[in-house]
């Protein structure tokens, strides 16, 4: 099955996640070709045809133009699948391609089972397996769902692509992530607060446990969005990706974006009232308890040691 992989380029660099696209194609034993709006000095390691458009000309985020460049390649190659990452680039561009091709789009694919893509539903509490009924399919892959065991190798055969279409939306620059304060990626123990803490005052319980364990506190996105914990302590795809020796998730249900940022921790403890919460999928120990009762007792016992 001919598969067109759409790699990404940001802030002057090829995004390393392109290897997940190759891993997907290898798993499907698909004949893969690649598309990138990028630069010749930052090429993916890939044995196959790479359709390359010049990022200096066409910008890193310019949806109308990238769509046209991609549609021209699709018209020429007629791939059965067009595969993106489910990322800020992929979920922005993929629906535009699906509309233009009148193709089924299947978003945030986590696996292929019996030849069909599987996607999460309701915060990953449920799964849906989908059968496309169109000749071409547009897929976006969940971050980290497809991985390679080895470093990719190879040199692509370049084909340059151009267009004279212009876009109405302009990307004028980037604002860097705020990095001051604690760096959770370098901490050995992290205790994180989730929506289950209920109110800002209860964050103190999480901080106290972090201190008792000699670590730092973090938080999931809703807690940061609510302003209860500062953004540099956010764990997840749009915050920090962490790998401490111990990660304690307090009242965190386990949204995919959070799991992606902490599931590689050495040891994971989850404290949650909901036994079925998706965090249980990655936890080594799930303590079924109300954190408001459990945390003070645990902290006291640890401090008394």
């Amino acid at each position: 099955m001919k598969t067109l992989l759409v790699a990404e380029f940001r802030e002057g660099k090829l995004r390393a996640e392109y290897t997940q696209l190759i891993a997907f194609a290898q798993q499907q034993q698909a004949e893969a070709i690649m598309f990138l709006v990028g630069a010749g000095d930052e090429l993916p390691r890939f044995n196959g045809t790479l359709y390359l458009a010049d990022v200096a000309k066409y910008g890193e985020y310019n949806p109308t133009v990238h769509k046209q460049l991609l549609l021209d390649v699709i018209a020429k190659e007629q791939p059965a699948q067009i595969v993106f990452l489910h990322s800020s680039y992929g979920w922005d561009l993929a629906p535009r391609i699906a509309v233009a091709l009148k193709a089924a789009q299947i978003a945030e694919v986590i696996a292929i089972e019996d030849g069909l893509p599987v996607v999460p539903v309701c915060n990953a509490k449920l799964r849906r397996k989908i059968k496309a009924t169109t000749p071409q399919t547009v897929l976006t892959l969940q971050a980290g769902a497809f991985g390679m065991d080895e470093e990719p190798a190879g040199t692509p055969t370049l084909v340059t692509v151009d267009t004279n279409v212009s876009g109405k939306v302009q990307c004028t620059g980037y604002e860097a992530a705020k990095l001051e304060g604690v760096d959770l990626t370098k901490v050995e123990v992290i205790v994180s607060a989730g929506r289950g803490v209920g109110k800002p005052e209860n964050v103190a319980m999480v901080q106290a446990l972090a201190k008792a364990l000699g670590g730092e506190y973090g938080a999931s996105r809703p807690v940061v969005d609510a302003g209860w914990v500062e953004h540099n302590r956010q764990v997840g795809t749009t915050g920090n990706t962490v790998t401490p020796r111990l990660y304690v998730a307090c009242g965190i249900s386990g949204a995919i974006q959070h799991l992606a940022g902490m599931k590689k921790s050495d040891f994971i403890v989850a404290i949650n009232t909901d036994k079925d919460a998706p965090i249980g999928e990655v936890a080594n120990v799930l303590v079924v308890a109300d954190l408001k009762q459990f945390l003070p007792v645990l902290t006291e016992k640890l401090n008394a040691r």
Partner: protein, 256 residues
């Protein structure tokens, strides 16, 4: 300005879900319903824009069975001027392109300057509908916005990217904007505004997907297999704490 806000009613994600009789979606009975969280940010941004420019008309659109009008009333109480309910009891089965076609069909001759919606729904989570609406209408779309400002027809946006950095984007009207969590702080409707909302216009329309042929079907719908590996501790709080400390001593080096 003429502004459209597209919202969805979704179940509380903490709910105990069951699979429906057709085996293609969750069972809709015995669930608590609320406005899709991402759409709350969309409604709030539209209301703030109206407060800024004064002359603006806010239409909130929602597709679904009659019960979705409860969620629409919240949007009206937050400050939307009128509601359009596309009454469709089958909406839960519809794929993103069908939903987008209904919205585009409604919007195509209304000359909306900005269409705000959530970047995705909490239940289906396709992140497709907003962009597809823009493509069907032939206007630009910017997704995943976490900052918005408007000045005399020019819109400055920040898009959220992976790893916490943001892209600075400039757009002009007409445009579709899909809102990410944290864009603003959605307001709670006040009691007087809840009362006022009851008198606001709420138009009901029949669903029309404009002849879109379905492009996909649900082959299976199921709960993920429990991986099992983890230990589940239940019981009395002090005992739980002792057990956990014991495990941490044995399995991790952090209590050494």
């Amino acid at each position: 300005m003429n502004i459209l806000i597209c919202i969805k009613q979704v179940p509380d994600m903490e709910s105990k879900f069951k699979i429906n009789g057709e085996g293609n979606w969750y069972d809709r009975t015995d669930l608590a319903w609320r406005m899709n969280e991402y759409d709350e940010y969309a409604v709030e941004q539209a209301v703030r824009l109206k407060e800024q420019v004064k002359e603006a008309d806010l239409t909130v659109l929602c597709i679904g069975p009659d019960q979705v009008t409860e969620t629409m009333k919240k949007a009206l109480a937050m400050g939307c001027d009128r509601g359009v309910h596309i009454a469709d009891a089958e909406s839960y089965k519809r794929e993103p392109i069908e939903i987008a076609s209904m919205i585009a069909g409604f919007a195509k001759d209304k000359h909306f300057d900005i269409i705000f919606t959530g970047m995705q729904s909490q239940d289906r989570g396709s992140a497709q509908v907003g962009v597809m609406v823009a493509e069907l209408l032939g206007i630009p779309a910017v997704t995943t916005i976490v900052d918005f400002s408007y000045d005399n027809g020019t819109i400055q946006i920040k898009r959220e990217l992976e790893g916490g950095s943001k892209a600075l984007v400039t757009a002009t009207t007409p445009v579709v904007l899909t809102c990410q969590l944290g864009l603003n702080t959605p307001r709670y409707p006040t009691l007087p505004n809840i009362m006022k909302a009851k008198k606001k216009e709420l138009l009901t329309m029949a669903p029309d997907t404009g002849g879109i042929v379905p492009r996909q079907e649900t082959a299976a719908f199921y709960f993920p297999e429990k991986k099992g590996g983890g230990i589940v501790l239940e019981g009395d709080v002090p005992e739980l704490a002792d057990k956990l400390i014991q495990i941490l001593k044995e399995k991790t080096g952090v209590l050494a």
